[in-house]
Point group: C2
Chain length 263, copies 2
């Protein structure tokens, strides 16, 4: 296995591990484990944050924890499952997470979008993970529940809520993919060309392409400032327009003085 896909392993083992907090450990014969799953996941995340997803291999994670490589397999069935655990762990709420109850729908959705950017800034390797199957662990469920908080005071169908959450998440992730993935530490090995070098080399080819007349609209662009956008600029624009688009519907669906009742 070489690629980095979620849901690659045995779903039963993955689920057991994701929800491990639900079955407390019981006393068993044999030596005390030296590690915990949490330690392994934390080490793998630290490694990914620091050196990129390419550096996350079983040998490196084991070295990070100063244990033998094969020891990891006592705790985690394989690399695929470890990746699932990493994804769910970073999706879990932080210390200072606000409570969506009491926030306006706009605030919640904006918090999701800007929070996603900050999130991908901290964990750019998350943009490289192929979330082939949704990882449904405690952290991911929490994220979804948080997002649903946008509609606490509104009468929208479940379907509509999902559509809106999907759209906001899609905007944030789609744009983060364009702008942030390049900040992730790359697998080194080849000629470690910097961003400047990269463009410098391409420039003459692009120049000739522009002069070829095959890209008339591009050729007419002022290159200077148009491309100097940040992910924040792009998300702000897209989100503002999108929220403007759904605002009438949201305002129409607002319930009168309702609060989330934990019935």
């Amino acid at each position: 296995m070489a690629t980095s896909q979620t849901g690659a392993g045995d779903p039963k083992r993955s689920s057991e591990l994701l929800w491990r907090e639900f079955e407390p450990a019981q006393s068993r014969p044999g030596p005390k484990p030296r590690l915990t799953v949490e330690q392994i996941v934390a080490a793998a995340i630290a490694l990914a944050d620091r050196e990129g997803l390419g550096a996350v291999n079983m040998r490196n994670v084991a070295a990070e924890l100063d244990v033998g490589t094969m020891t990891l397999y006592r705790y985690v069935p394989g690399k695929g499952e470890l990746l699932d655990l990493m994804v769910d762990a970073v999706s879990s709420p932080g210390e200072d997470e606000p409570d969506p109850a009491g926030m306006d729908w706009r605030e919640v959705l904006e918090h999701i979008a800007t929070g996603s950017l900050a999130f991908y800034g901290e964990h750019p390797w998350m943009l490289e993970v192929n979330q082939r199957r949704p990882v449904m662990g405690p952290g991911s469920l929490w994220s979804l529940d948080f997002a649903l908080g946008a509609f606490d005071d509104h009468d929208v169908t479940d379907r509509e809520a999902i559509l809106i959450i999907t759209a906001v998440w899609g905007i944030a992730t789609g744009i983060a993919l364009s702008y942030l993935i390049q900040d992730a530490p790359a697998d080194q090995g080849g000629p470690v060309s910097t961003e400047e070098e990269w463009w410098e080399v391409q420039l003459p080819y692009l120049q000739r392409a522009m002069e070829s007349g095959r890209y008339p609209r591009m050729a007419r662009m002022e290159h200077e400032d148009a491309w100097n956008l940040t992910a924040e600029d792009a998300v702000r624009h897209a989100l503002d327009a999108y929220l403007e688009g759904i605002a009438p519907r949201m305002e129409a669906s607002r319930r009168r003085g309702a609060r989330l009742r934990p019935e």
Copy 2:
């Protein structure tokens, strides 16, 4: 190199290959090449379409063409560059591509979004490629130029045009990532759990999670229809709302009776 990243190789070699049509071959000593770069790229794309990105390795591509593995290295510096070429090749215009000149801004942007979905449906492996650096070849430039056609009749700044294109592209790609990547042929090897199996196994855990009271909003959802969304549904919703949001600006910027002049 194990991961699938663009821009991984030598940028000079990549550019030369991307723009190979610009330097015509000249007569040289030595045997005639048995292959062309086009053939190799086409074989790799066919393989990726059919068996997934995981099946694209140098040995398989060579077997597809009935040549020795190392022969490929006569034409392509390495797998990273081959991936760049694949990405640019599938981004090139098809036979029946409409001309954005003469289309309304809405039509162009909608065509980009729905076209993207169809595109990812045909080449789901594109969702797995980490576009760490933009591949600036003939195909990608053409896509950009096409998108800029949305503004032929409008007075918008270059910056604004890029913002809008980025938003539409981000919406389509972000949503495709959620909905379509699961349709890509998976790297087989482990327990090849189907979609149903996957959910069946997770269900009891999710049930317990819902009963735990930690996800009150999720627990209150009607699961039946809310999750049965297609990528088309999600994109239509997001794009409609977004276009609604930028419509005032676009209408305000419309030029009077202007047409694209190939000056």
